[in-house]
């Protein structure tokens, strides 16, 4: 099963030190907080927008690296996100849990989060309740899934940085996006 070319490709996967990404991301969040005069709602929105743009580009990388086809249902999508997507890019495997009966909502539980290592939130009495430090991940997920025709909403509902026991992201499927013909192709 394991052929030479396959091994060659596998060993060519580029890695970078996680602390470099953590430091860069932390600096971005710190500067956004300063630029917005610690209006954490705006910081959250900007992080989400950044993530959305990154997600739209990242999905191409994901499909190229993982060699997967289309997911048949939202449960399969969740497994793919957790076990393949997060594993490929951040080298973590969040837990998929808390499905709703209609299979349109689930949670991702992060017991580790490379973006949040060594991080302390500002001690201004508000960051603890208003800033979602890793909000870029919600945007990444939304942008990536939109490129494979799923409109979703993702948001954090708890964060260990805030003192919660667990970091939990709630993901909701809004609708599948229909194929559309280009306007002049009728």
């Amino acid at each position: 099963m394991v052929s030479g070319p396959y091994m060659f490709l596998r060993t060519r996967v580029d890695k970078v030190n996680a602390e470099l990404v953590t430091l860069t991301y932390g600096t971005i969040v710190a500067q956004l907080c300063t630029d917005y005069d610690y209006d954490y709602t705006q910081v959250n929105q900007q992080l989400d927008k950044m993530g959305y743009n990154i997600g739209m580009r990242l999905i191409e990388d994901f499909l190229a690296k993982s060699n997967t086809g289309r997911c048949g249902n939202f449960r399969d999508t969740a497994e793919m996100i957790s076990k393949v997507g997060f594993k490929i890019f951040l080298n973590i495997t969040p837990t998929v849990t808390n499905w709703t009966a209609d299979n349109k909502q689930f949670s991702l539980l992060f017991d580790e989060n490379p973006l949040a290592d060594f991080v302390e939130l500002p001690d201004d009495g508000r960051a603890q309740d208003e800033l979602w430090f890793s909000n870029i991940l919600c945007g990444v997920l939304r942008g990536a899934l939109e490129m494979v025709q799923m409109s979703i909403e993702a948001r954090f509902v708890s964060d260990m940085l805030r003192g919660n026991d667990v970091t939990e992201m709630r993901v909701t499927l809004i609708r599948y996006i229909e194929d559309e013909m280009p306007p002049d192709d009728e």
Partner: protein
């Protein structure tokens, strides 16, 4: 399935690794982010067509003391004398660098160049992007330097024992080599391809395949170079931040002549008092 081998220069043997795409795409998105913030800042001035005098005033305002990041930072905090000295020089350094960019950015905006979002690239807009990206890079450079140099032998001493200018140059060269090999290895996963110096405080670093530019291509060559320019501001800040935390004040300018190559010119500020 064999685990991929660790990167060229891990911080420690057990460093956690993430996919390079995360860092690549994060850096790419820094430029649109800076553009969105610069556009919002421009709009907040409530002057749709700023006069030259207003531009000058605004430029001074926008280059005021850089706001210190709050507690939300992933870098470690040190309180050594050296760090304090380095920190105290950061404000004038940024001011000097900002002044240097004005001539370069004025010319493009005079020809009514359009930015990536299709709106005019005013001087305020261009300067604001530069300051935002360079400041981010500076902070990352500071943190990186602290982290990577922790387990390293001391650089050549620089005038601490009353030595002459020669030792200052030796120190600078030693630090620049650290930048070219260790810092570049961790951040861009390769070493600088070429280092030149005039031995009077100017260093030119050439990277023939500069990582942030490798994912870019455009049909129009000149436009590609123009669009690539902001992607060099963050790396300029990294360089200046690394040098600053190791006691060297400098200005950094960058250009790309042919994608994906990049050239960085570092001009160190020579010490005023020579023992």
């Amino acid at each position: 399935m064999a685990a991929p081998p660790p990167g060229d220069a891990p911080f420690d043997a057990d460093s956690r690794l993430v996919n390079m795409s995360c860092f690549d795409l994060l850096l790419i998105e820094l430029v649109p982010l800076a553009e969105r913030m610069a556009r919002a800042y421009e709009a907040s001035l409530d002057r749709p067509t700023p006069s030259p005098a207003s531009s000058t005033t605004t430029k001074r305002t926008s280059k005021g003391p850089p706001a210190a990041p709050g507690n939300t930072t992933s870098g470690s905090t040190t309180t050594t004398t050296t760090s304090n000295t380095a920190s105290s020089t950061s404000t004038p350094s940024i001011t000097v660098t900002g002044a240097n960019t004005v001539p370069a950015s004025s010319q493009p905006s005079n020809t009514a160049l359009l930015a990536a979002d299709g709106l005019p690239a005013t001087t305020i807009f261009a300067d604001s992007i530069y300051v935002r990206l360079e400041r981010l890079g500076f902070r990352v450079g500071e943190g990186l330097s602290e982290r990577i140099s922790r387990d390293r032998p001391r650089f050549n001493q620089a005038g601490l024992n009353g030595a002459n200018v020669g030792n200052v140059n030796d120190h600078h060269l030693d630090v620049i080599k650290f930048l070219c090999k260790d810092i570049w290895g961790v951040v861009w996963r390769k070493q600088v391809d070429n280092l030149k110096t005039n031995h009077r405080g100017v260093f030119v670093l050439t990277d023939n395949k500069f990582r942030p530019l490798t994912r870019m291509s455009m049909a129009n060559h000149a436009e590609a170079l123009q669009r690539a320019k902001p992607h060099l501001f963050f790396p300029c800040g990294i360089i200046r931040g690394v040098l600053s935390s190791l006691g060297i004040k400098a200005t950094v300018q960058a250009e790309t002549i042919e994608l994906p190559g990049a050239v960085f010119q570092i001009t160190t500020v020579q010490p005023q008092i020579r023992p």
